[in-house]
């Protein structure tokens, strides 16, 4: 049996608020294997984004352990976690979040620039290759503001893939796309999974489940559909 890529043990995340403590995630146990396409579904406030933030090391659990590719993310310092995140995790946001003053290609090159994982001379070539794989190579030298939503999201995925991360985390990647582009985006992510990429995606879109290898349903910070059922 292969070792799981992601392991969450007894993970809780609580936020102090004026009205008392708000529990975003409560005692979550979860394992995700390499090559899985896990779709996390749930209502707004169910804890989907919090779960992804914990996996990315953007947020820290109040209790419990988050282990990604043998790294205890919850135990890393702020400096260590940012260095780790650059190489191990690729993130795709709902609003694309491309840097407006950089061209599409430069946006894809930026993670390589920060982490230094690829030689300087190879970075543009690799960025163009990734963009070609996602069908936006011809948009390489354009600024994000001149691209359509679908194109921007493809560039964002290429950027997330830039450092060949162990896991691709996508938070509502289709939330800002029309149905045709959303379908295309899901198809694209599924294609990446087929090539061996692990993808964890949070979404409201129940239609996304048909592309997934597993669906996790969250309600009030708890997993309500057992992962084993989907596995089976």
């Amino acid at each position: 049996m292969t070792k799981p890529l992601i392991v969450l043990r007894g993970v809780s995340r609580e936020f102090p608020t004026a009205a008392g403590t708000f529990t975003a995630l409560a005692d979550v146990d979860l394992t995700i294997d390499r090559g899985e396409f896990v779709v996390v579904v749930g209502q707004s406030g169910s804890g989907k984004s919090t779960l992804l933030a914990l996996l990315a090391g953007i947020d820290r659990p109040t209790r419990g352990e988050v282990i990604v590719d043998d790294t205890a993310v919850h135990a890393l310092s702020e400096r260590q976690v940012s260095a780790w995140r650059g190489g191990a995790v690729g993130i795709v946001f709902q609003f694309f979040q491309l840097l407006p003053t950089l061209t599409a290609c430069e946006n894809v090159m930026l993670p390589m620039d920060f982490t230094g994982t690829w030689p300087v001379r190879e970075r543009r070539e690799r960025a163009l290759a990734l963009m070609g794989r996602l069908g936006v190579a011809d948009q390489a030298d354009k600024l994000p503001s001149t691209l359509s939503g679908g194109q921007q999201q493809r560039v964002a995925v290429a950027r997330a893939m830039a450092n060949a991360p162990s896991v691709l985390l996508a938070d509502e990647p289709t939330g800002n796309l029309d149905s045709r582009n959303a379908e295309s985006m899901l198809d694209l992510l599924a294609g990446l999974v087929q090539d061996g990429q692990t993808v964890v995606m949070a979404t409201h879109d129940h239609g996304a489940q048909r592309f997934a290898t597993r669906t996790i349903a969250l309600a009030d910070g708890r997993i309500v559909a057992p992962a084993a059922l989907v596995h089976a």
């Binding site: 953007i58 400096r79 940012s82 995140r85 690729g90 979040q97 930026l110 620039d113 920060f114």
Partner: protein
């Protein structure tokens, strides 16, 4: 090739052109202000030191009745003396195409063999040959002469002789002629003899062997020289020992440049506030981008390096623009100042270290200024950054404003907005308030200078003064002038040069004694302690408070031994008068006559009953003509109003230089306010969109921004008023070191305070115009999508 992150830095700079321009302009102003003064100072320091040293200035000057080669040889043999030489210096009149002026004629047996006080040849011939005169550079413009002009020279009633101006030369050891109102002319000994001067030399210049000696040691050597001269039966009239290696005005120029440099530096530091604002604005607008960059692998250090690099590039651009401009202004200022000092800086280059220092400060100051906002901005967590919604409601608003019912809602919102970013508001307030304090301080200084001039002229109860070419019987000249039409009263005054002596040897440099008649009605200084002359029978001195401050030997009741015209006598200090900043010494004409043996007067002061400059000038012409007809030769005449204007203008010019620094501050303050307000608009784009969505019109948005700017401007005005007091004292002290001590007003100038209010309000309106225009262009849809 630049990496993507540095491309982002450059494009962000370009994207925010207006704010980038503001920050660069502010840094440029700071660098130009401080850099120009630094460049001028470095040029002047080098030129004055090197040229002054190259002139091999005299260590001491001994004035006597005659000098010959044998005496010089004996002086050179004295211990500590490197060399000695003689020259003939005589006061005369010169008639130039521009009129008649007082002249100081300087002759030497062999100018070419000059070893002390070396004269630097300029245009035309050097040295002066028989029948030719060489005019000293600092006198040329004042005398209105040019090479080729003919001038008439005359000593007293002696024979006049024409000389042709054949050259211009520079003697950096002389106090500038235009300042002293004297035309320095180098002539041959034969020409001096031609106009009746006594033959031979009358001044000994000595240079000590050890150039590192201090003034006290040189004074001791000068005493030996004096003793030697007197042993040969000659009379020594004065011994002057200047501060070694230092030009007479070097201290003043240093003080002026240090003060201006300090303000330039202050402007540079305040320009850092704009950099803080720009970087803070950029960080505020890019919080999400920072979050995204962190999410894709950027460390806080990498992001900080990007924004600090951006600040560094602002400094480099500002340096590229401003350092050459600072060099141009610095050279102009150095040339102007060198002109005052009678030096020439044209042969000197601004040293490389001055440029390097400006580059280092200009490039690093923005980095240092940006450090705090960058470190704070880069510490934001990815989570917080991605959730950013712009400015929060942080920062308490003063109760008065919260609970106010006298303001409309938009105005109330503006007032609250002004207090939302306390730290930024404090920086902007500080910039504007310091600018205001310097402005008000400069106005106070101006008032204080005029007050000092008032004090200087208050004791002088006369309107015009005539100086005679040679002493004349006091009573007879007064008798000529007093009955003339338009003359209310006239007095004849005497005067002499004196030196303080201890054990019979002059120690101090010589000073002037003014000697009105004992019962004078035309000189009424305010007596601080003691009394005015009680009788003409005793050797009584009245000195000004400045004299006592400078030398306690002149304290009330003390007796001092003075050498006047080679004769030593004891005098008693009977009174201390308020002379303002000037050292002044008075004796009665009668007492002075007893000591010197001369009953002649050299000055006639006249009070008139005429009004207006034209009438006064007509009276001057009549008095001169009448005196000439009676055989009294008038060498110069002056209206006191004119003299006052010349002195006042001269002093105000220096005060103006200090005041000019306030302009730098005002510009930097205005730029600071503009950047703060543009930042406020940027941060509240969404809020403005909401206001628009609920019905706010153009004028409401415009009014809100302008009112917010006005709140900051008026607060800065209130802070500037008390702050102007220490600033006035600082400027007054600086002026005191440069020119003369002035009584600084301890209350801000009322009209000046109102004028600054107007300036600061206008500044606010102009500074807020662009941010307000930007705010008006924000549409509801774009604001809410931001």
């Amino acid at each position: 090739m630049l990496s993507p992150r540095w491309r982002k830095v450059l494009r962000d700079l370009w994207l925010h052109k207006a704010r980038t321009g503001l920050a660069i302009s502010a840094i440029c102003i700071g660098i130009i202000g401080a850099g120009a003064v630094l460049d001028a100072w470095s040029l002047l320091r080098r030129a004055t030191r090197e040229e002054f040293d190259a002139s091999r200035p005299a260590s001491a000057v001994i004035r006597t009745d005659s000098v010959d080669a044998a005496l010089l040889a004996r002086i050179r043999a004295l211990p500590g003396i490197a060399t000695a030489q003689s020259r003939h210096v005589v006061s005369a009149r010169v008639r130039t195409p521009a009129g008649v002026q007082t002249a100081l004629l300087i002759a030497r047996d062999d100018f070419a063999a000059n070893e002390i006080g070396v004269v630097k040849p300029g245009d035309g011939a050097w040295p002066p040959s028989q029948g030719h005169a060489v005019v000293e550079h600092s006198s040329v413009e004042f005398a209105g002469v040019a090479i080729g002009d003919s001038v008439e020279l005359q000593i007293g009633d002696g024979p006049a002789a024409m000389s042709r101006v054949s050259g211009i030369a520079r003697d950096v050891g002389l106090a500038p002629g235009w300042m002293e109102h004297v035309v320095y002319i180098f002539v041959s000994p034969a020409d001096l003899a031609r106009i009746g001067a006594t033959s031979g030399m009358n001044e000994i210049q000595v240079a000590v062997a050890d150039r590192s000696l201090g003034r006290t040691e040189i004074q001791a050597i000068a005493r030996d020289v004096r003793a030697l001269v007197e042993r040969t039966g000659r009379r020594v009239s004065s011994v002057d020992v200047p501060i070694p290696g230092r030009h007479i005005h070097a201290g003043q120029i240093d003080s002026l440049l240090y003060t201006q440099g300090a303000f330039g530096l202050l402007a540079l530091v305040l320009s850092g506030v704009l950099v803080v604002n720009l970087i803070a604005a950029m960080l505020t607008g890019q919080v999400r981008e920072i979050g995204v960059m962190k999410a894709i692998g950027a460390g806080a250090g990498q992001i900080a390096a990007m924004y600090l690099g951006l600040a560094f590039s602002l400094g480099i651009v500002a340096c590229a623009i401003s350092i050459p401009l600072a060099a141009v202004f610095g050279r102009m200022y150095a040339e102007f100042t060198a002109g005052i000092l009678n030096f020439d800086v044209s042969a000197y280059r601004i040293p490389v270290w001055a440029f390097a220092l400006q580059l280092a400060v200009g490039a690093l100051l923005p980095v240092v200024a940006a450090l705090f906002p960058v470190v704070r901005g880069c510490r934001i967590s990815v989570n917080d950054a991605l959730r950013d919604f712009g400015i929060s409601g942080r920062g308490e608003t003063p109760r008065l404003i919260v609970g106010g019912r006298i303001f409309t809602r938009p105005v109330l919102l503006s007032l609250r907005n002004a207090f939302r970013r306390r730290a930024r508001m404090a920086l902007t307030l500080a910039t504007l308030a310091i600018g205001g304090a310097v402005y008000l301080g400069a106005l106070n200084l101006r008032g204080a200078v005029i007050g000092a001039v008032d004090l200087l002229f208050a004791p002088q109860q006369f309107d015009m003064v005539f100086r005679l070419a040679h002493p004349a019987p006091a009573e007879s000249i007064a008798a000529v002038v007093t009955p003339m039409a338009g003359v209310s009263a006239a007095e004849s005054w005497a005067g002499a040069r004196a030196a303080l002596a201890t054990d019979g040897a002059p120690l101090g440099n010589s000073f002037t004694i003014t000697a009105p008649p004992a019962g004078t009605r035309m000189l009424v200084p305010r007596i601080l302690t003691g009394h005015w002359f009680t009788s003409a029978g005793n050797n009584e001195l009245v000195v000004s408070n400045r004299v006592v401050d400078d030398d306690s030997a002149f304290a009330l009741g003390r007796t001092v031994a003075l050498v006047i015209d080679g004769r030593s006598a004891t005098w008693t200090i009977v009174g201390v008068a308020d002379g303002g900043p000037m050292p002044v010494t008075y004796a009665s004409r009668e007492a002075l006559a007893r000591v010197t043996g001369s009953t002649g007067a050299t000055t006639i002061v006249v009070a008139t009953g005429v009004a207006g400059q034209a009438a006064e000038l007509a009276l001057v012409r009549r008095v001169r003509s009448e005196l000439a007809d009676r055989g009294f030769d008038v060498s110069s005449s002056q209206l006191m109003a004119e003299q006052r204007a010349v002195i006042q203008d001269h002093l105000l010019m220096v005060a103006g230089f200090l005041g000019n620094m306030s302009l730098l501050m005002i510009v930097v303050g205005g730029l600071g306010l503009a950047s703060t307000m543009s930042l406020a608009v940027l941060e509240r784009t969404r809020e403005i969109g909401v206001l628009r969505a609920i019905g706010a019109r153009h004028r409401t948005i415009l009014g809100m921004i302008q009112v917010e700017g006005l709140v900051i401007a008026i607060l800065s005005w209130l802070i500037a008023i008390p702050l102007s007091l220490p600033m006035s004292i600082a400027l007054g002290n600086a002026f005191g070191r440069v020119m003369l001590e002035v009584p600084v007003h301890l209350l801000p100038d009322g009209p000046g305070v109102l004028r600054w209010f107007t300036v600061v309000v206008l500044l606010s309106v102009v500074a807020c115009a662009w941010p307000a225009w930007r705010a008006m262009r924000i549409t509801t849809s774009s604001a809410l999508a931001a």
